[in-house]
């Protein structure tokens, strides 16, 4: 039962981690906005998440026909996700840094982070309700 609750939050963990990672890349861009020969770094959130999901959907069973039932893995694995980040270094390289743009992105990202935390709080409330009956 506790295992189930753990899995329940696995996806939120990944989302929060990627938000923090994006925030860090933006902070790095703003800090280095006047450094010569600096390449702006950004992660493509959608692409990253898609990649994580796809990499987790793979299983050992060979599927010879499309109508075969695909075995789904239960949830995403955070370790796997960090490995992907390290391996692919999914940075869109772009030369110049526009500090205004970066600041707006930073703010937007922090608000999205708060939304995610609100979602987690709601999930926890739901679990409480289920326990209390």
């Amino acid at each position: 039962m506790l295992n189930n609750i753990n899995d329940f939050f696995e996806f939120n963990k990944i989302i929060l981690n990627s938000r923090i990672f994006k925030q860090e890349s933006i902070a790095s861009n703003i800090a280095n906005s006047e450094t010569p020969n600096y390449n702006r770094k950004d992660i493509d959130f959608k692409d990253l998440l898609n990649n994580t999901i796809l990499s987790n959907r793979k299983n050992d069973l060979t599927i010879t026909c499309n109508s075969h039932i695909k075995k789904k893995n239960k949830y995403f694995n955070i370790n796997n996700y960090i490995k992907i980040l390290e391996k692919k270094n999914k940075f869109k390289k772009n030369k110049s840094v526009n500090i205004n743009e970066e600041k707006i992105k930073f703010l937007k990202n922090s608000l999205e982070y708060e939304i995610d935390i609100a979602l987690i709080n709601n999930k926890i409330k739901n679990i409480y309700l289920a326990i209390q009956g």
Binding site: Q23, E24, A27, A31, E34, L85, K103, Y113
Partner: protein, 136 residues
Amino acid sequence: MSLTNILNICNTALNVEEKRIEISANNLANSESTDYKNGKFTPYTAKIAILSTYKKDKYGLEGVKIKEIVKTKDPYKKIYNPNHPLSDSKGYLKLSNVNVLNETVNYLNASRRYEANLEMIKTIKYMLLKTVSICK
């Protein structure tokens, strides 16, 4: 990959901007002074900071630091002032190459960047507090 790491990045940026403001103030203060070295009087040369990235982490994100402080290559100003004790045989006096307008703009630029980084720290602090408040 953590919120505290972002605080470290902001910290490096704050240090750099502080140093840049210091350099601009130094240049402005010395815009009329002369250096005395090896028995010779030379006009003060303006200095400028060259930035570089600092401490790359395993994801390739980095802070910023001052790589070195170099003297600018602008030519010295020359004015005709034969009465001055330091002027040459033709009556010309060399003055420092500090461009007051440039320095003021640099100073404003650095202070704005400092503000931007401070604001980022505020946002991160808010995010950290939000994270702590999960399940409350």
